[in-house]
Amino acid sequence: MSEFELLRNVTIGQYIPTGSVVHRLDPRAKFLAGVILILAISFTRTLLPIAFLMVVILLISQTSRIPAGYVLRGIVLGLPVLALVFILQFIFVGRAEPAGRIYFEWGWLRVTHLSLQTIGVGLIRITCFIFLTSLVTMTSTITELTHGVESLLRPFRRFGVPSHELALINTIALRFVPTFAEEMEKVMKAQASRGADIGRSRLWRPDQAARNYLPLLVPLFLTALRRAEELVLAMEARCYMGGEGRTKFAQFHARPRDYAVVLGAIIVFGVAFFAPWPSVTQIAAALGFPGL
């Protein structure tokens, strides 16, 4: 029984130190490469290139030595939404765009080549997203990420992007995630000890659900406010007066392998987009299954 362990299923954002090469990369390189791969994933629409991207990501995952099963646990939380999206796609894509070959038709339900491809690509795409974002956060500490982002955004400061403030807000928010998770767990346990049935409200009574969550949310908000007030005092006591005139303790030095990683990501992007990928139908035909 671990009904109260909140952090157990939130895998995104947990740093898992395995000391792999991926962990030792410059966070800026990791972040840039991640963004490039995410762009590639988002714009690929056919099956083979995205399968290629999936393989690349699985290879990175292998290198990072983080158990794939643990990474995939992040999907569990999103499963209900995903399931809904796929059911809707299954039902409506075939009807809306009756292009391509029709495999099955029953009343107004129509399963086409396009709808299957959309669903397949969608599935792989979501898995890729979760894998990639989890990998970036699991192999870099929060500080590396925030300083990385700050450092990448610094050139845009002259255009009014408050890079230091964004980084600080980000750090503080992430810094308090475990604190609030602990707090939430404690309040849940305290109210359960007073006979509360948390999380057992019925789906068809959202009013009841809301009322059941009040005993958790009110205390949590109150402590959050109190913590914020104290944090402001503590920061003032440490002479924080905004980003002007501050020096920086954390610094990064990019090495050749970091440039190589970004270059690699660009190449993968290029391959996924511009390589003459055959379609699944063509492959099937070549293998002797014409008419698929």
Binding site: F4, S193, G195, Y240, G245
Partner: protein, 602 residues
């Protein structure tokens, strides 16, 4: 040398919502010399935190002046100078840490001051070394203990190279080990680096170290002097809702029966020396065996040890529990804990933060289930999947640390009623239970039920939270550090209400760091260390092994320590562990009286 801090007739008024202005400080004047160690005492609401916040211009005086070195705090141009000269560490370590890695948090202050990077690196190394946290520099703070986190906060302050360090109840949330760690660091900074220390605290023992003690009351300095001068005035301190260290209490009590016995005794060593320094020091031979016999009768009456003979209602055998089970972050929290709770007793549980004691008590009402071993609560095997958890939670009430954090209703009465309403009781029964629970914590039903919950004082909120569990009318009440963070008066009040429950037949389990409280009230004590039960027995049995406790980093009550030392030196006969001031007083008077008596005959 000119004073480093100077307050001249400082008054501070603030305007709470919808009520008349409150004067938190009332004409306070104070001068602190460089290198001083000043402790400020005072009950909650006496104005001591308001005073502290004036020292680095977090608050400005309504009238009067505050000078830090040559800078007036009213002049905003000096703000950076003032705040880098007067460092301040607050109560809750979690709310002061801004970064996700220890060394970056320490660097935050110097970064703000615009210190060059090479110098920041040097200062971070130096500050972490000063607080003994160098090996932890790459850790995320949420994996550290309270004492470690607070030392990081101190490091973050001293990295700015302040001349004064203000500690605003910085030890209130820590366990004794953490408190000792922090105090050692602070003392070293004072002695070796010459940092001026101003410490605000509720713990009288911390004031013993100071050069000067101030006691605040109603926004004024009511009493000041050296620790010896201040603690000698036991009656005056009581009027100010403060108590004195247990050793001093014993000395004062002795001085009433033994003429000429010094009243201004502050430490165990001093008290032992004072006993030996009497014109007729006690000797072992003088203690008549009859005296020892009557002592054990005395201690039995004191401890009501008959309570520990009741039937076992919660039985824990070889309990093991993991956190984050099945993830790469899995940790074994406890392993092989064996413990039982018997009907009608008061069971004390001792252990450091992180020893696993909180994990153990969460098995008492089924919040956690065993991963190995057995837990039986009221005959129910808690390993079974179909346990009626709701019934168990009704019968075993659990009060968490700082339970006021669980309050959520706007009105006091509604909050207390949350539990009984969850039990689906009738309206009349809910009302009756709320009434009984509120009266049991001394907050009258008619007077308090329609008050705004969040307008209560800290001590009252704690009591309302306790009432919220009492309204379930549990047979066993488990309390996790019920007095932590309260001032002496608040501590005493809440303990009084809790013990009244014992007399109504409620079984009590109290987790506490306060050895003196545990020695006084418990029938049995269990000691948990590193996830295992290491000792269990009567307070006399447990506190009778001071060496073993010390090895675990735990202490014994000060009186027990005094009497042990006297026993070892042959001052009194074999009396075992002495747990209360009254008991110690009786033995000492007997021993001193007995050693006098033969002399008179000769």
């Amino acid at each position: 040398m000119p004073p480093i801090l100077r307050l001249e007739n400082v008054t501070h008024k603030y305007q709470p919502e919808n009520s008349s202005p409150v004067e938190a400080l009332h004409g306070v004047s104070l001068a602190v010399e460089p290198g001083d160690y000043v402790v400020i005492l005072g009950h909650n609401g006496s104005g001591k935190s308001t005073l502290a916040k004036h020292l680095n211009a977090l608050l400005l005086p309504t009238t009067g002046e505050v000078w830090v070195k040559q800078w007036n705090t009213k002049n905003a141009a000096h703000l950076r100078n003032i705040r880098s000269s007067v460092g301040m560490v607050f109560q809750t370590p979690d709310n002061q840490i801004v970064a996700t890695i220890v060394e970056e948090d320490v660097a935050f202050g110097p970064e703000n001051l615009g210190v060059p990077r090479d110098e920041i690196i040097r200062r971070v190394d130096w500050a972490l070394e000063r607080v003994d946290m160098l090996p932890f520099r790459q850790r995320p703070p949420h994996f550290l203990s309270g004492g470690q986190k607070q030392r990081i906060c101190i490091a973050g302050m001293i990295a700015m190279k302040p001349e004064v360090l203000v500690l605003d109840e910085s030890t209130a949330m820590l366990d004794p080990l953490g408190r000792r760690e922090v105090l050692d660091v602070v003392r070293r900074l004072n002695k070796e680096e010459g940092v001026t220390i101003i410490a605000i605290t509720h713990f009288m023992e911390e004031a013993v170290e100071a050069d000067r003690v101030l006691v605040m009351e109603a926004g004024r300095i009511a009493l000041q002097g050296t620790p010896r001068e201040v603690f000698g005035q036991v009656e005056r301190l009581r009027e100010l809702q403060m108590n004195v260290p247990q050793v001093t209490q014993l000395a004062v009590a002795l001085s009433e029966s033994v003429p000429g016995f010094p009243r201004d005794v502050l430490t165990v060593g001093e008290l032992v020396a004072a006993v030996w320094g009497l014109p007729s020091p006690p000797t072992r031979s003088s203690t008549v065996p009859k005296g020892a016999a009557s002592d054990s009768a005395f201690s039995r009456e004191e401890q009501r040890s008959g309570r520990a003979e009741g039937p076992v209602i919660i039985d824990i055998k070889d309990l093991t529990h993991y956190y984050m089970r099945g993830t790469p972050l899995e940790v074994k929290a406890i392993e092989g804990v064996t413990l039982d709770v018997r009907r009608g007793e008061v069971l004390g549980i001792i252990g450091h933060t992180g020893s696993g004691k909180s994990t153990v008590i969460q098995h008492f009402n089924g919040l956690l289930r065993p991963h190995a071993g057995a837990v039986t609560v009221f005959g129910q095997d808690m390993r079974a999947a179909d346990v009626n958890v709701r019934d168990i939670r009704r019968r075993v009430g659990l009060v968490f640390q700082q339970p006021e954090a669980q309050l959520f209703e706007q009105y006091v009465g509604d909050d207390v009623a949350y539990g009984p309403r969850n039990l689906k009781l009738s309206r009349e029964e809910v009302r009756a239970r709320v009434q009984r629970a509120m009266e049991a914590v001394g907050l009258g039903f008619d007077e308090f039920k329609d008050r705004l919950t969040f307008a209560l004082s800290g001590g009252q909120m704690r009591r309302i939270a306790l009432a919220g569990v009492l309204a379930l009318e549990p047979e066993v009440l488990v309390l996790d550090e019920p007095t932590s963070g309260l001032d002496p008066l608040g501590r005493e009040q809440i303990m009084r209400f809790i013990l009244a429950l014992r007399d109504q037949g409620v079984t009590l389990v109290i987790v506490s760091h306060n050895m003196e409280e545990l020695a006084r009230y418990c029938d049995r004590l269990g000691v948990i260390s590193e996830g295992r039960t290491v000792m269990i027995g009567s307070p006399a049995e447990v506190f009778g092994q001071p060496e073993k406790l010390r090895e675990l980093g735990l202490g014994v009550p000060a009186v027990t320590d005094v009497m042990n030392q006297l026993q070892h030196a042959g001052g009194v006969g074999e009396v075992g562990a002495v747990l209360t001031i009254q008991h110690a007083l009786k033995i000492l008077i007997e021993a001193i009286g007995a050693s006098k008596a033969p002399r008179v005959e000769r």
